[in-house]
């Protein structure tokens, strides 16, 4: 017995030590995307698999006539921001509508979503990523919103046109955008100053020039180009800037294996091996570490990194649009969308209440923007309050390009992930890598489409 106590005491001690050591690397922000790596990041960061239920606000749920279930994956600090907005809504509608949230990591969200909709236990409202909507709409799990949008008098021209259009699939609307989350450029103000610059680069050439200057004047790298995720989001952005296209409208044909695609990818590879302004072999999250430590001057990543970088002591950073790798403007962007999952029996009153809630949240978009997002509506985008959010505002000043709304986009585009990895390691030339990705992606999509038409 004595042995056992001694053993467990030591074990406990060392365990505490481990957790203590590990804590500081947690605030990774919300890796927000439907790609795998992002989900991993979230799984890594969240408190595991659990989901939490909550009714924000100081209200009596039982007194409400309608209780709406709202599912989302905001497990990070952004969960608190959305809860604050919901609390206001609940307090305003006390006795009438109460919104009850269910929060879980995104991968669990999508797994469970399938199950509950199939069993007719779907929540009233959910948040879904833009690029997932088409697939779920095609499988008849989402409610078309056209009539509801008309009834409530949603002003569609108040939304950024591209993101509003992206919520449509086969002529019907399924999503109402909550926000836009693009890639952006983060830069280390101190390092740039030492190198003699005060403004961030706007083009690829400027990026290279400033990076070389930084490496000349300091011990830091110019930029750290990731090998793994989000490298293929950077590729997407570079591809857009070169005037290339991702996949065809129907999602079945790859268009990225083009001369534009090759050049777009080559320029990323060149940053490492030709211009030597980035270290090679930057592993998962390695680029984030270098930027946090002040060991790289530039960093391309999603807008969701803002909160994490703001918390980083001693990091004096600025934000800007991603420099144009080619001649055109254009940047990868994702979007969180409200959707109404399909119910076996539709209840117009509940739907109306749900729309009222959605309208309330989008109108209060500036509170959500503080969580590190770009609001999707012009009225908020142009508000003074939003313009005061320095980083969010800077990163919003870009041309957002969303992927085509096709249920097969993911199948066709997906294989660019490993392909870009191998190109970034120079295990394949950009040409070979993209050709392989296109071959695999088209086979994937074809198979998926044939299964669906069965």
């Amino acid at each position: 017995m004595k042995k056992l106590t001694a053993l467990s005491a030591v074990t406990l001690g060392s365990l505490l030590l481990f957790t203590a050591c590990q804590e500081p690397e947690q605030p990774e922000g919300e890796g927000d995307n439907s790609t795998e790596a992002a989900e991993n990041e979230e799984a890594a960061e969240g408190n595991g698999e659990e989901s939490t239920e909550d009714t924000p606000g100081d209200v009596d749920v039982d007194a409400a006539e309608i209780v709406l279930d709202f599912w989302n994956g905001f497990t990070g600090p952004d969960g608190e921001d959305i809860n604050n907005i919901i609390a206001d809504f609940n307090e305003m509608h006390e006795g009438e509508i109460a919104v009850r949230t269910q929060t879980m990591p995104w991968e669990n969200f999508y797994d469970q979503f399938r199950t509950v909709v199939a069993n007719d236990e779907a929540p009233d409202i959910a948040i879904m990523h833009l690029d997932s909507i088409a697939g779920y709409a095609q499988n008849d799990t989402l409610t078309p919103l056209d009539d509801l949008v008309d009834d409530i008098g949603f002003e569609d021209d108040d939304f950024i046109e591209e993101v509003w259009q992206a919520g449509e699939f086969e002529g019907s609307r399924y999503g109402i955008p909550l926000d836009v989350h693009p890639l952006g450029l983060f830069y280390n103000i101190d390092l740039l100053e030492e190198a003699g610059y005060s403004e961030p680069p706007e083009t690829y050439d400027e990026l290279v020039e400033m990076s070389l200057a930084v490496q000349e004047e300091t011990d830091a790298y110019g930029i750290a180009m990731p090998v793994f995720w989000p490298s293929n989001m950077i590729f997407y952005t570079s591809l857009m800037s070169h005037g290339g296209e991702t996949v065809s409208e129907d999602g079945l044909t790859a268009l990225y294996n083009s001369p534009e695609g090759e050049e777009a990818l080559q320029k990323m590879v060149d940053l490492v091996y030709e211009h030597e302004v980035s270290p090679a072999d930057v592993q998962a999250d390695g680029e984030v570490t270098l930027f946090r430590q002040g060991n790289s001057a530039f960093h391309i990543n999603g807008i969701w990194m803002i909160a994490g970088f703001e918390d980083q002591e001693g990091l004096n950073f600025g934000s800007a649009p991603v420099p144009n790798f080619g001649d055109e403007e254009g940047v990868w962007a994702g979007s969180h969308n409200f959707v109404l999952p399909k119910q076996e029996e539709e209840d117009p009153e509940r739907q109306e209440a749900a729309m009222e809630f959605i309208e309330f949240v989008t109108e209060n978009g500036v509170d959500w923007a503080k969580a590190g997002q770009v609001p999707a509506s012009y009225s908020v985008l142009e508000s003074e309050e939003f313009q005061e959010l320095e980083h969010q505002y800077n990163i919003s000043q870009q041309e957002f390009i969303f992927p085509p709304t096709s249920p097969y986009y993911d199948d066709t585009w997906g294989p660019t992930g490993p392909a870009v990895d191998e190109a970034m390691l120079q295990q394949m030339t950009p040409d070979e890598a993209l050709e392989r990705a296109a071959r695999e992606g088209e086979a994937n999509a074809e198979q998926a489409a044939s299964e669906h038409s069965d």
């Binding site: 030591v10 991993n40 090679a280 592993q283 998962a284």
Partner: protein
Amino acid sequence: MESVNETRPRKSKSWKEKLTPLLFIGPHLFFFLIFLAYPTIYGLVISFHNWNFFGDMSFAGLENYANILWVTDSLYFEYFWTAFRATFIFVILSVPPLIIIPLLIAVAINAKPPGQNFFRALFYAPSLLSVVTVVLIWIWLLDTNAGLVNYYIGTLGLDAIPWLTRTPWVWISLVLMTIWWTIGTNMILFLAGLGEISDQLYEAAKIDGANKIQQFFHVTLPGLKGPMAFVLVMTTLASFNVMAQPQLATGGGPGYETRVLILYIYEVGFTGGNPRAGLAAAMSVVLGMILLCISLVQFKLMSREK
């Protein structure tokens, strides 16, 4: 009359005797049926269908199996066997050290050196951590440009090692973190086995003039046959089922190098806009069969030796 009186309680006792074990097994049987038997059979059924979790299953016959087993120009054939190769590499690299190292540690601790409890706890502690924690610690340590390991390698004047981006280093890193994480469990099993070996055997060996090394090979190892078979089979199975380490540390990369079977099955079945439950189930069945064969062979080999 007397005889009747005697037999009666005996009869009811034998009835009770029969029922009591069932009562103990019952709960387990219940959970076994619900959580293992039913899903296994259901998985088998799914593997003969095309299904995306919504809508209805459509019967596909052997199509899913064909795509991974004999239609060699199918994309899934290529992916499946690449993933199988990755899994196999991991098994080959991880199983031997996962047996030898814990065995040596167990023997050392069993010799009762000072501070043995401390060491026992030290080696066992990592097993208590979640895989996410373990991988994060190691990613941090092995970072190519900012990690502690490469820092020390740098002070020796050597080039930085791309631990988590290039072969063969990715494999070494994955095996390294797995060893650190799981040796404790095997060590405890070996320690239990060592405790069972009678001291008289060692004394007899000593009298016969056997040195320490001879004692190890002729007394310790044969004495550990039972635990060894168990550890070998369980470790092999666990290594075949590896998923979280490559998923978190390398995302299956570079390219498809470390995309192991379970990770690939998960991708096919649960990610993207078009999950393919049927294909994923077929892959799981094939993997299950392979594991069954390997375990049988291992048990046969271990029990044949005297």
